[in-house]
Point group: C2
Chain length 274, copies 2
């Protein structure tokens, strides 16, 4: 079981920033990544659609014999985490709880800002968990739907990204802000534009890094860490266009990517009633 893979899914490319953090934190683990590129993006779609997609993605990864499932998509975490935990018996880790946990001891009395997709913010999950852990800190939640296409089109460090960041954040520029949660896996790639807009004193939190630490702790406590000395194995699957995934994905992963395999999710819909 210890050398079984960690399974990671996302709507498409963004979850590769989480995979990158997992590789850095757990360099001996074998990893399988699934990107649902036929149906991306999830961020603007209904909770019901994202729940159905998440069940199918998880069923596919479970069929490959993974030891732990990582939901590397804040939108899926915000609407499908409870359902996934009810449906599957393997351990499941997302980005939200680790990101909230990560803030402990790192903030004072200022506001905590959450930047996310429309579905993530409308679910209210981040806001509720932050309120429980940090009842004295104001929570400000901002929907930033232009950030994903800006990153995917290569404008992360372009003045278009700066202008979009200003558009979303300037209404709050008089607030005392302690931390900003980059609660969508694309947003860490906008680090430079966001830090420029916010100033140097504000903590930017990448939930992918917090998530990787939680995976380490869980595997360690369950004695499931892989201690193999060989080179770990990384596999990539997508539901559309493996060639494009490989090309764009390497920007997110920040390293070369092995072959990418196309799969049809119509074989993994048993749990979804159709």
């Amino acid at each position: 079981m210890n050398n079984a893979c960690i399974g990671i899914f996302d709507s498409g490319f963004g979850g590769l920033t989480v995979m990158r953090a997992v590789i850095e934190t757990l360099p001996k683990e074998n990893l399988i990544y699934f990107g649902d590129t036929a149906r991306l993006p999830y961020g603007e779609k209904s909770a019901e659609a994202i729940q159905k997609f998440s069940l199918e993605n998880a069923e596919f990864l479970q069929s490959l014999g993974i030891k732990i499932l990582v939901v590397a998509c804040n939108t899926a975490c915000s609407v499908a985490m409870d359902l996934l935990k009810q449906t599957f018996s393997i351990p499941i880790i997302g980005t939200i709880d680790p990101a909230v946990e990560y803030l402990k001891g790192k903030i004072k009395d200022g506001a905590i800002v959450v930047l996310g997709t429309r579905r993530t913010i409308q679910s209210g999950v981040y806001q509720q968990k932050l309120k429980e852990q940090f009842p004295k800190n104001e929570t400000i939640a901002i929907v930033c739907p232009l950030f994903v296409p800006l990153v995917e089109e290569g404008f992360s460090e372009h003045k278009l990204a700066e202008l979009a960041a200003w558009e979303y954040l300037h209404p709050f520029q008089d607030k005392k802000i302690d931390a900003v949660l980059l609660a969508c896996t694309h947003y860490p790639l906008l680090h430079v534009a966001l830090q420029k807009m916010l100033g140097e004193g504000i903590l930017l939190v990448d939930p992918g890094i917090a998530c990787a630490n939680s995976i380490y702790n869980l595997l360690h406590d369950a004695a499931l860490l892989n201690n193999n000395v060989g080179k770990p194995d990384y596999k990539f699957y997508v539901s559309d266009d493996p060639h494009k995934f490989r090309k764009i994905g390497q920007v997110f992963l920040q390293s070369p990517m092995a072959d990418v395999e196309l799969i049809s999710l119509s074989d993994y819909t048993h749990l979804c009633g159709h």
Copy 2:
């Protein structure tokens, strides 16, 4: 048959600009619109995925007894039109042929610019058809993937749209341009930003309006025009989130929208081999 509906599909919202043009040109016709909102956007996805989606969408509309099918999505037209015509026996009209036809007699010796999604431009269909009709005019094709999210997020007349237009078009500002084809159904909503960037002397062509004229001609020639005097019937179906579709869709349709019904496409996949 004359009072049967015209069936229109698109990946989501953009085709409503075509529907608007059809309503203006053919105010007596009953219309059914299907927006594939669970799988939008199409513009960046593979030809194979878009062909599969298009067959499913068309099969759904055909099951409702339509008299003509309108493919109100330039991306689907560019990769799935031949396949749809081979598969279905009802008349099918898209946006590309009408838009190219529309230019006849309206241009001189300047370049013709095509603005579209990555898939539309990479298919080369617009470029090939323009070359056949206007062999002496240079064709310039530009991929503009940020335009769709800018329109959908309400930034059509914002400086973000102007900056994106400048980013895409400024490499060609020394060219003598006669006409610009807005070869994605979202782009007509960027008319103001584009005309400001291009100057007043350049013809902006909305393929939706050209498409509506072609539908009129086809129905007229086949004696299929609806001459009922009653109020026409408009029905809307989507594959995800009818509430959001109604809210955003009214901006594209520029008129109030009746109830929107959610359907599952898993009942319309007989042609797709799964």
